[in-house]
């Protein structure tokens, strides 16, 4: 599948209007790819649904009157039944889909100030949140809508921007205003989570705020993006971890620079290995593995750059889990959510 050979373009499928302030984040439902959540500076979360007949998207629900400030990010549980929402009001909401409406069934409190991100682990048994209070919290999902704080992880020296669980193992990653990425792991099943690695400038890491982390499907590679205008690809020998031989450290694989001239706020790795980036230059970038290792190791090439994808900064890009076609959702300061399709030019 040599994508570079094909003449591909990113076509706008639909523009979703409704939010009355900037949209910070979008999240596709992992189970029903016809459901999409978006969250905004207007303090609400919108659920968009695609009609099976007309194939067009419309707003199915507005989750409001719960968060009293910006909702910064949202994340569906692996089962697709729950939606977690992280807010500047310091709380994380857990919402359940009851078919015709969504209800906030629990509110997680504890952070001292704005919660920036929330992530579910692969099995849905843990949640992680992070905040400007510099900490990362792990919550255990108990039955009956109960959530218990399992750990408070300190280590970052500044505002933590995003948390992301590894796709196959219970290893937690966080990235921060302190320019580093931290890896948190509990060696024993009953053990405490510790910071087992910090990727900073000396590990070929970023030189400014790191905004996002995303893993490939197999979990042996990750991409991070930053205010330093670069994307970085990292790799680890995770088979070593799976076989219980201890922690396998992450190492820098390559740096993608010169593609965006403003902060890169989001990057997402698709299941078929296309990396999407969204930045403050209003553009979406798509990158693929060059498949031709140079003397210096593997490299990634720009597949295409969609200039002026939005009228203002792009805050979030996310590939749809749909196997049918390559759909990408983007969220922007212009208050819009857009759905794109990557297709061959006619």
């Amino acid at each position: 599948m040599d994508l570079m050979e094909k003449n591909l373009e990113l076509v706008e499928v639909q523009k979703l209007e409704g939010h009355t302030d900037r949209v910070w984040n979008v999240a596709w439902n992992p189970v029903s790819s016809s459901l999409l959540a978006s969250c905004s500076g207007d303090n609400t979360v919108r659920i968009w649904q695609q009609s099976p007949l007309s194939r067009s998207w419309s707003c199915k629900a507005v989750l409001e009157e719960t968060h009293t400030r910006t909702v910064r990010s949202c994340s569906w549980s692996p089962s697709g039944k729950l939606l977690a929402t992280a807010s500047f009001d310091g709380t994380t909401g857990i919402w359940e889909d009851f078919g015709d409406e969504f209800e906030c069934i629990s509110t997680l409190e504890g952070h001292e100030n704005e919660v920036k991100s929330v992530s579910w682990n692969a099995s849905g048994s843990y949640l992680a949140t992070c905040s400007r209070d510099k900490s990362v919290w792990i919550w255990e999902v108990l039955g009956g809508n109960e959530y218990d704080c399992a750990a408070v992880l300190n280590g970052h020296t500044q505002d933590v921007k995003m948390v992301q669980w590894h796709p196959t193992m219970d290893v937690l990653f966080s990235c921060s205003y302190d320019n580093t990425i931290k890896v948190w792991w509990a060696e024993d099943d009953d053990g405490d989570y510790q910071c087992v690695q910090t990727l900073n400038e000396s590990s070929n890491g970023h030189s400014s705020t790191v905004w996002a982390i995303s893993f490939n499907a197999t979990g042996d590679k990750m991409v991070t993006c930053s205010d330093d205008l670069t994307l970085k690809i990292w790799t680890a020998d995770i088979s070593m971890m799976h076989s219980g031989e201890g922690y396998a450290p992450w190492t820098h694989l390559c740096t993608l620079s010169g593609y965006h001239d403003r902060t890169i706020f989001s990057s997402h790795w698709s299941s078929d290995d296309i990396i999407a980036s969204g930045a403050g230059d209003d553009a979406i970038g798509l990158f693929v593995d060059s498949e031709h290792d140079s003397v210096n190791g593997p490299s990634y090439n720009l597949l295409l750059k969609k200039e002026k994808a939005h009228e203002m900064d792009i805050n979030s890009v996310q590939w749809s889990p749909s196997k049918e076609n390559r759909l990408l959702a983007s969220a922007s300061d212009d208050g819009m959510v857009k759905i794109w399709q990557l297709e061959t030019k006619p």
Partner: protein, 191 residues
């Protein structure tokens, strides 16, 4: 008056007994009621304003959209009030025409401001006021960068990073006390 920038801090007698460390922490306080960070700022006479109406009357093509230049951007921010004193940022030379760099074709503006004191904790507030005023005044396509003039602030990199972190700015602007302070500084700027 020559261009010597020499700050004479005329302190109330009680403060003269404080050690330098105590003085520094005193200057770092954000309270504005007692003990201003800069008790006696230098106030400059401002130059004559360009008459914007005279310029635009020569433009007979109604359909043309004038490119935004640095003078227009400066007009938006020159009257912002200093958070501590009843003077504008222009009068205190925190901002000058040269503070503003504009590239209209790239929709980019950069403002470089000079705090009156090196340890000024008001620097973040001033930077925030400039950003808010420009966000409200310029077309939304504009990308705005704010920074302190290199070498004029003790924690320059830290201040610049905060001022240019969009998420931090957004969260700060949800704080009603801070918004009130910013609006107060901007109130004269809208007249």
């Amino acid at each position: 008056m020559n261009s010597l920038i020499c700050l004479r801090l005329r302190l109330p007698p009680a403060l003269l007994s404080l050690s330098l460390i105590e003085l520094k922490s005193f200057c770092g306080r954000k309270k504005m009621v007692n003990g201003l960070i800069n008790e006696n700022p230098i106030v400059y006479e401002i130059k004559h304003r360009r008459d914007v109406r005279a310029d635009s009357s020569s433009n007979t093509n109604e359909l043309s959209v004038d490119a935004i230049d640095h003078l227009e951007v400066f007009d938006h921010i020159r009257d912002i009030k200093d958070p501590e004193h009843p003077y504008s940022l222009e009068q205190l030379k925190v901002l000058t025409e040269d503070s503003v760099e504009v590239d209209d074709s790239k929709s980019h503006v950069r403002v470089t401001f000079t705090p009156t004191v090196e340890h000024c904790s008001m620097a973040t507030i001033i930077g925030l006021c400039v950003r808010v005023k420009l966000m409200r005044s310029l077309p939304r396509r504009y990308k705005i960068d704010i920074r302190v003039a290199p070498g004029t602030h003790a924690t320059e990199a830290a201040v610049n990073k905060q001022l240019n972190d969009k998420e931090r700015v957004a969260a700060a602007l949800e704080n009603p006390n801070l918004v009130e302070m910013v609006d107060e500084c901007l109130s004269s700027s809208f007249e």
